[in-house]
Subunit: 461 residues, 2 copies
């Protein structure tokens, strides 16, 4: 539904501002940074995701002929400005944390350095892309932490917010350690393993439940997972036992059963007994239905004999934290640091880097946010990923990104790995320091701002 | 990013089920209905939206050559089944509530009648489309009810969940009575009025705030709204007064100022005084920043002198209710009513209609859900909108849909118009009755289900 390169997927004010800059001949180098302001109590850290799509957008973005025609006909802008937009391309520099990096509030995960008419216009869609995947990866990783040894599958596309959300939630949750997704398009586009069984409608369409199980098993003999809760879960399990005996003679094995309703723990216990007593100890139980990290933790604490989980709506909408308070802010223009000082929304100026240091056990011990060229302890997290509007490296595989996050999870301080909020004396929050060079620049900017204003300039255009 | 007609934007189980149906030669007429199970306490009614996109999807859906090639190469399905998919088109019937209709739990808002291989496959994307816009329209209408006389503008694209969500949230909120959206693409695609001013970066990029205001006003003299909270809101208002005097001589008028941070009521009061004392009683105050229907109600109760609001993230993510518990369920196959009886998720069988009756004042008095051909009091809400896979009428304009919802809001019982949950003796919830014919069919289905199962059938394919 959305052309990937379209630049009309933006806020109108980007165009009115561009018109203002253009009228005045302003196009000096600007630096914008994307960051999240606050950590909600339901998260102990964030996971950076979406850079691949953000860089594709920057590389490909331009106004299509159809868009230019529409802009001309809208009468909102003078023709010479629309002609100017026809030439628009992104030719700037991008520094970013690689996808799969754990990050914290006030840490830029992406920095754009480009003429202001470029760096400004990309704001809306860049936020849209980085926000959503980081949101979902930050939610999904909590499921991975809650159920590290279980098969987790993204089931959420149908109630994700639109097509792109469904597709990219599959990607973000795969980065976070999910085994795969039910969304077929995610397999085609990203090579993410696809999982799927049957819906209740398949059972209901057949004259009887056993007949439905049997027809499904014969059609897909290599991957038989049967949904057994359409009418009565335990009765369904008994039918599976009976069917398995008959199918065994033909070399068809039932691999798993799925539970989707009721008390999942109680049903799983009873179904496990029925399967075991029926000679099917290898048939696994897979569960779905209103699951999230809290429910997974609870089910595992109860000892529910469930081998895998389909996690859907609550993850794909990040239902407990459906958005992050993120921003893409100007931090430098024409060589001068810039900041806003709006109440509760003041920003740090300048081109920044995030340095992460580790304790002697290799655990993450703290981050420092400071100017990119200031000295600081630790490893820098932002890398130069785009130069002159072109990617510096060809991009990373999803498995590389998964592996990065996985190794970071091992180095994460223990309190941050829990679902409960860190921030108490026993479970301290992660320390993020602001470096002295950054504080100094903020003071310099404030002093500069309090200079008497120069005489108003006349427009040049 | 998403091709609109792509059929791989689906759950894998749709394909495995189709394979099962195909193997067995099952393709009798199926009836599926889309409905929402529960009304969360934060909503008193829902608003149907997304039908236009759902019908476009049904009309255009097919497997592209690229998709078919990928399916073949995936090795998941036999070649003859992929050849069968190449022929797939939707040729069925659709009955639906028109967009902009208020609806309640257990009321189908869309019914698909088609061969099961068609009606089944469209499930995932149909839910994805109907769920999201109904979710957002149901949220946005609460803003309209909280601030009926104010200019409301959708500002949420950047933190909406992906591109399609940003675009369709603009459409859904416009249906719900918003004046327009900041999202330019919504203007191009749907003709929704576009609104926009400037960001803080525009102010910061200039050497001084007044200079930024002035350059903007000169570039866009017909629509000057100035953002005044970048450094100090009241100081910004004084600069506007000073600038307005100078610009007046040139025939440029400042139309509004925007506040985006801090205590919006207190700032608006002080800014109003500054503007009034500065001879600018006609300059309106527009506000944004973390707004939703509760905040709007609060600001209006405080008497904040604000004429318009930009409502963003909290609406475009429906942050208090980020998903609806909706489903698309088989209710009939091969002429026999069907239902699932899973715990807490049992469904009503059969082809249904929703009848709405009114009291003597013309207010909505109650709905009855029953079989489509059973007698019931009131007006039927589902209309025949697609026949043989083609739309019956050419589609409705957004203004027609807005008008429908607006006139329904006038007929809504008073307790449902409030933000507080209905459901108390003083503020009763809306009555939705299940008709006797529907109860009877459910009993018949249960009896039918309890018949001894016929002997297992062999596959036909």
């Amino acid at each position: 539904m959305i052309p990937q390169t379209g630049l009309l997927l933006t806020d109108l004010y980007q165009l009115t501002m561009l018109h203002g800059y253009h009228s005045r001949g302003m196009d000096d180098t600007a630096v914008f940074e994307f960051f999240v302001r606050d950590l909600p109590p339901e998260r102990n850290f964030f996971v950076a995701a979406g850079l691949q799509q953000a860089l594709e957008f920057l590389h490909e973005a331009h106004f299509s002929d159809e868009e230019l025609t529409w802009l001309r006909e809208s009468g909102r802008f003078p023709a010479d400005f629309v002609d100017h937009l026809a030439q628009w391309r992104f030719t700037g520099e991008v520094h970013a944390m690689p996808e799969g990096t754990a990050f914290f509030p006030n840490e830029p995960i992406l920095r754009v350095t480009a003429p202001i008419q470029q760096a400004q216009l990309v704001e809306s869609r860049l936020i849209n892309l980085l926000h959503f995947q980081s949101l979902i990866a930050s939610k999904a990783v909590r499921c991975t932490l809650a159920a590290p040894d279980k098969l987790l599958v993204d089931f959420g596309m149908r109630r994700a917010h639109g097509a792109e959300a469904g597709l990219l939630a599959a990607r973000a949750s795969y980065i976070a350690g999910f085994a795969g997704s039910a969304t077929v398009l995610a397999a085609q586009r990203f090579g993410i393993p696809a999982f799927g069984t049957m819906a209740h409608s398949y059972i209901e369409a057949h004259a009887d439940e056993t007949g439905a199980f049997e027809s499904f098993a014969r059609a897909q003999p290599d991957n038989v997972t049967l949904l057994i809760d359409t009418y009565d879960t335990e009765a369904g399990a008994h039918k599976v036992v009976e069917l398995a005996r008959r199918l065994k003679a033909e070399g068809i094995a039932i691999r798993a059963v799925r539970l989707d309703s009721g008390d999942l723990d109680a049903h799983a216990q009873r179904v496990r007994t029925i399967l075991d007593e029926g000679g099917l100890p290898d048939v696994r139980i897979f569960s779905s239905g209103n699951l999230d990290e809290y429910r997974l933790q609870e089910l595992l604490a109860q000892g529910a004999p469930i081998g895998g989980f389909g996690v859907g709506t609550l993850m794909d909408t990040s239902a407990d934290v459906p958005y992050l308070d993120c921003a893409y802010k100007l931090t430098e223009y024409a060589g001068q640091g810039r900041r806003k000082r709006s109440e509760s929304k003041a920003t740090w100026p300048g081109r920044k880097q995030v340095y992460r240091h580790y304790d002697t056990d290799g655990r993450m011990a703290g981050d420092t946010v400071t100017l990119y060229d200031a000295p600081a302890e630790g490893d820098p997290l932002l890398e130069h990923v785009m130069s002159g509007g072109r990617r510096i490296d060809p991009g990373e595989s999803l498995d590389t990104i998964r592996e990065r996050l996985n190794s970071q999870l091992e180095r994460l301080p223990e309190p941050l790995r829990r679902l409960e909020p860190a921030g108490s004396p026993e479970a301290p929050a992660y320390p993020v320091a602001i470096g002295p060079a950054l504080r100094q620049l903020a003071e310099q900017v404030d002093t500069w701002l309090e200079q008497p204003a120069p005489a108003p300039q006349q427009r040049t255009g």
